[in-house]
Symmetry: C2
Subunit: 214 residues, 2 copies
C-alpha cells in the first residue's frame, strides 16, 4: 500500500503510528503540504478532498480520513489490537479518540487557520487563543475521563495501546507545536511520556520525518 | 439506557436515527442546549465535556461522542448493520462519515460559533461565510466520492443504510438550518431524500423533537 503523508500532518502521524505498531509494509509518498502540493491536480486525483493522509491499497482503492484508516488497519492486521475486546470498552476508546479527532483537531488544521487569518482577519494572537481553547478544552475532557475512570491504566485504557493513545499523542504533539501549556493535564502528559518511549511513537514523531525542520 | 439529547444537536440526531433504525429501547432525557443546561453541574456530572449526546448504559457507564456511540449501537444490536461486511467497504463508509463528523460539523457547533462571534468579533455575515465554507467543502468531497465510486447505490454505499448515510443526512440538515444552497450536490441530495422517506430518519428530524420550534 502507498501512504500519502506529510511530516507535519497530525492525521498522518496517527496513521504512521498504527502502521509502525502493526509492522505493516508500505511505501511512503511525502506530499509537501506547507507548499500546497496537496492542492494540485496530481494529489486531488488521489484524494479529491485534497487533505492528508490517504492510503492507496494494492487494488487501487483509496482510503481517506485518518480514523477510518486506523479502523481499517486494525481490522486487516489484528496484532496488536488497537481496540479493547468489549463493546463498552471500545466505545470509551473511540470516544476519547474522537474528542481529539472530531472536536479539537478539526479546529487547528491549516485550511481552518488560513481561513481565520485571511477571511476573518484574525490576528496572530487571536489565532493562538483559538488554538489554545480548542486544545485545552478537549484535553480537559480527556484528562477528566482519565482521572475518574477505573479503566485507565498504563495507557488510556488499561495496559494495551489503543486508538485513544494514538489520538492523545497527536493531541499533545499539537500542544507542543503551538506552545500550549500542558501542566494542568498530568495524567495525559504521563501517558504520552510512556508512549513516546516506544519506538512506534518515537520514530513516527513529526520532527523525525523527511522534510521536517532539523 | 438513557439518551441525553437535544432537538437541535446534529450529533444527537445521528444517535437518534441509529436508535430508531435498530429499534433499541431507551429513555430520552432532553437537555436545553440553547438555554445552556448542558453547562450546568447536573449534566457535567454525566458528561464532563458538557456536550451532547451522552448515552448512559444500564450499568451506569456513560458513552460520549456520537460516532463512538454509533459504533457501539451497531455492535450490540447487529440488525440492520450500519457497516458493510468487508473491511475496505467499512473504511469507505467510515471515511465518508468522518468528512462530516470530523471535518465539517466540528466547525459549526454552538461553542465554536459563539467563540467566533464573542472572542474573534466576527459579524453575522462572517460567521455565515465560515459555516457555508465548512459545509460546502465537506459536501463537495462527499459528492465527488459518491459520483465517482461504483459502490454508491440507493444509499451512500450500496443499498444498505450505513453510518455514511446517517452523517450525510446530518450534513444536509445542517445545510438546511443555515440556509446553504445544496444545488451543486445532486447525488447527496437525492440520497438524503430517500433517507428522509424512511420513518427512522423522518421521525428523528430535529424539528419533530420535543422543544423544537413549531
Amino acid at each position: 500500500m502507498i501512504f500519502y503523508s506529510n511530516w507535519r500532518s497530525l492525521a498522518a502521524y496517527r496513521v504512521r503510528v498504527a502502521l509502525a505498531l502493526k509492522g505493516i509494509s508500505h511505501t511512503v509518498m511525502p506530499i509537501d503540504m506547507l507548499g500546497g502540493e496537496h492542492l494540485l491536480p496530481a494529489f486531488r486525483a488521489v484524494n479529491p478532498q485534497a487533505v492528508l493522509p490517504a492510503l492507496v491499497l494494492d487494488d487501487g482503492q483509496v482510503l481517506f480520513q485518518s480514523m477510518a484508516i486506523l479502523e481499517y488497519l486494525d481490522e486487516i492486521a489484528t496484532q496488536p489490537p488497537l481496540l479493547p475486546a468489549d463493546a463498552a470498552g471500545r466505545a470509551r476508546v473511540r470516544g476519547l479518540a474522537q474528542i481529539h479527532a472530531a472536536d479539537s483537531h478539526p479546529l487547528l488544521v491549516p485550511r481552518v487557520r488560513q481561513f481565520l487569518q485571511k477571511d476573518a482577519g484574525m490576528d496572530d494572537a487571536g489565532v493562538q487563543r483559538w488554538i489554545a481553547r480548542a486544545l485545552t478544552t478537549g484535553l480537559q475532557a480527556i484528562e477528566t475521563n482519565l482521572v475518574t475512570s477505573p479503566q485507565t491504566g498504563t495507557y488510556c485504557h488499561g495496559d494495551q495501546i489503543t486508538l485513544a493513545d494514538i489520538c492523545l499523542s497527536s493531541h499533545l504533539l499539537a500542544m507542543m507545536f503551538f506552545k500550549i501549556d500542558d501542566a494542568a493535564f498530568p495524567t495525559a502528559v504521563a501517558i504520552h511520556g510512556r508512549l513516546m518511549a516506544l519506538p512506534a511513537f518515537a520514530d513516527s514523531h513529526p520532527l523525525r520525518q523527511p522534510g521536517a525542520p532539523s
